[in-house]
Amino acid sequence: MPVPQPITDAHRKVAIICSKGGLDEVYPALILANAARQSGIDAFIFFTFWGLDAVTEKKVDHLHVNMAGNASSPMPTMLAGLPGMEAFAAHQMKKSMAELELPTVREMLQILDEAGAELYGCELAMKMFKRTKDDLVPQVRDIITAGDFYDLAVGAQIIFT
């Protein structure tokens, strides 16, 4: 039975740099990587600086949202800086994410790994934060340098979050 020919687009690849550890800053990187895999695009994420928190075993379940200085936040900056506000905002955001059946960051990392997206940690940031590979979630494949990142990113579109 004749059917439409598949679109034979060139082999695509994205390299995503995740440099911040806020809940609102980590999700875009994870969702973009996941969407890439779902669209048949190769994807890998390079976690550096505070972004490392997203793949650190002790931190991944406790990522916060910083409302202070966020112009889109409904909370006045004066109040957003008070103690506990980060945790409160994170709690609210996690609640609305749960309503959307959005997976948690830990689940997202699991999904990404299964979908074939590769996760890497930044060597320099690891040294800076005095972390070893054992401190990271098992989905992180390796600790690489910025130079290694460019070797991996040959032919890829690079996204910085």
Binding site: P2, I31, N34, Q38, E114
Partner: protein, 320 residues
């Protein structure tokens, strides 16, 4: 006759002689005066030069020169129109100064300034202290005055802005009449999108939850062998699907169907029949009880879309 003729001449000579004598006398007096004055003048001149020298040393001449320069700059920097306006404004300035220097106003200002002298007695204040302080009548009055000053300043600024805007408007109208100058706008150098992209986006349907209802066919881009397809290669109408068509579609996607594959396709089709939308990967893992990894193993390239295509469903909605 000779004598008679000589008389007036002698008389004229007498007068002349008298005149010469008087002149000689004056000349003598002048010479005396000069002789007397010269030493005095010399002293005066010397003193004068000393005086000027002292003034120069004190910087008066440099100052004067600077003053001339300033005057020059003022003349260069201001047009006659400006000076005319200044003339008008001077009255207002003087009135403002007069109003500011009224004894009552000065007393208030002096009283306010005296706070700085008594600063040692003033206690530090936090944000709640500020709120408490607003209960004081004097503070309330002061705040009201400050706000009124702000309001007037703001009003004045708005009026000035309005005048400027009117001026700009006039200028632009004038420019319109005289013909526009060559203006470069950022971004205009970018080429317009190719016509192809525009037509494609016009044909491609935008999938949304509502448009995925079963029995509601998607816009058709091509009809092959009596089966309608959308622009992105999905079946336009899920009802047209048959197992043999699914087999052919799978072959075209490079997928060799096994029992495991069919299990997922069937789950996707039944989910579409109940919910009205094509399941995304996350939903597939829940309804077909498979892992994400299984889906990527069975359908390596873009599992969500591939499954939807083989199952004859529209493109799955959502990010996950």
């Amino acid at each position: 006759m000779m004598q008679e003729d000589l008389i007036p001449i002698v008389q004229r000579l007498d007068t002349l002689l008298a005149g010469v004598a008087s002149l000689t006398e004056r000349q003598r007096k002048q010479e005396e005066l000069i002789a007397e004055l010269t030493p005095i003048a010399k002293v005066a001149l010397a003193t004068g030069i000393d005086k000027l020298d002292a003034l120069d040393k004190q910087g008066y001449f440099a100052f004067g020169k600077e003053l001339i320069d300033i005057g020059k700059k003022i003349v260069e920097g201001f047009s006659p129109g400006d000076v005319h306006q200044l003339g008008d404004a001077i009255v207002q300035i003087l009135e403002a100064v007069k109003a500011m220097t009224q004894p009552s106003v000065l007393a208030v200002a002096a009283d306010a300034v005296s706070v700085v002298d008594d600063a040692a007695d003033v206690k530090p204040l936090g944000i709640f202290g500020m709120v408490r302080a607003t209960k004081n009548d004097d503070v309330q009055k002061g705040m009201a005055i400050m706000l009124e000053v702000l309001r007037r300043v703001g009003h004045g600024a708005n009026v000035a802005a309005g005048q400027r805007a009117a001026l700009e408007d006039k200028k632009s109208k004038l420019a319109g009449i005289l013909g526009s100058r060559k203006q470069k706008r950022l971004g205009t150098e970018r080429k317009a999108l190719p016509a192809q992209a525009v037509t494609r986006s016009a044909v491609t349907p935008t999938p949304s939850g509502a448009s995925c209802a079963p029995g509601k066919p998607q816009p058709t881009a091509a009809v092959i062998d009596g089966v309608a397809y959308t622009a992105d290669g999905h079946l336009a109408d899920a009802a047209q699907w048959s197992r043999s068509l699914g087999e052919a579609l799978a072959e075209m996607q490079g997928v060799t169907m096994t029992q495991a594959h069919w299990g997922i396709i069937d789950a996707a089709r039944s989910d579409h029949a109940t919910t009205g939308s094509a399941p995304n990967i996350r939903r597939l893992t829940q309804i077909a009880s498979v892992t994400t990894k299984d889906l990527y193993t069975l359908f390596p390239k873009a599992p969500g879309r591939t499954i939807a295509k083989i199952a004859g469903l529209p493109k799955p909605a959502g990010c996950l």
